[in-house]
Amino acid sequence: MRIPAALALVLLLPACLSAAGARKYGQPLALKEEVKVAEILANPDAYAGKKVRVKGLVTEVCEERGCWIKIGADKKEIMFKVEDGVIAFPMDAKGSTVVAEGTVSKRVLSVEQQKAMCDKEAKALSKPADYGKINGPKTIVRIEGLGAEVQ
């Protein structure tokens, strides 16, 4: 009787652990106040370099390495990028509620920089560079992720 009981415990343990509340990634959450995603995107200069806490839905997950997610709320989405290998979000996080903290970054890519990125991507994928989507400087606002809790 002992062996089947132990076996059942081993088999059920992952299910019990996965059901035990939020899944935590990276550093523990420390901030109390949440900032809306739309607010950050509307005023990136005011938040650039500042640590923020946001809440929303995980709308996309990096399929290759789990190294970024997109957090959506109020018809707006922001990328939450984490350091490769430090945090890896699983694909089943998609559609779950997430509370996340990180530092807002704002970067403006010139046309030349975008073309250089296109060239690099084209070389890596062995296909011709496509400049079709480049129409002027591009502003990228994202959160450099430190920690997250996925419900």
């Binding site: 399929e63 290759e64 018809k75 290998g85 694909m91 998609k94 559609g95």
Partner: protein, 195 residues
Amino acid sequence: MTSEPARRAKPWRRWNAATHRDVGYVTVALTLAYAISGLAVNHIASWNPNYAKVKEVRQIQPLRQTDPTDSLVRAAQAQLKPEGRFKSAFQPDDDTLNLYYDQASYAVDLPTGKVLVEAVRPRPVLYAMNQLHLNAPKRLWTVIADLYALALIVLAFTGLFILKGPKGFLGRGLWLTGAGAAVPIAYWIWWRYLV
């Protein structure tokens, strides 16, 4: 007669061989897991080693963008009849409604009724190997992975001194070890300084 040389082996060489043998037994499963995962992850640009993805395009009746999200969700669900547990819905813009289920996600283009269905499944076994290889669990697994790395170092050094004589380290072993070390060194110099 054939066992005479082994019987005459010095005690440290016997201990060395025994250590190499037993550490090898203990680490063989993890070595295979890491090696298979390494092969899989090396080619991440050409395929997804963690997940198998199935995409499908479906057609439903167009939905009114002006309707509230809750109504749109009910209307889309009624037509799509998705399987699995409903998790949530999100509108990234006025024309799109995303439905998230535990088995798949549905991106509905409201004006046209065109739906992109994406189902993602972890690849059995390979997903687990990759997660362990990349130390996704952290915590205790970091300690286990460190011990495994130390075991590999032990295997490497004890492996050098299993045999003595012309086939030992001071014979052909020195040449082969040198050739093995030259590959990463030469590649690094070529890639870092010459390309």
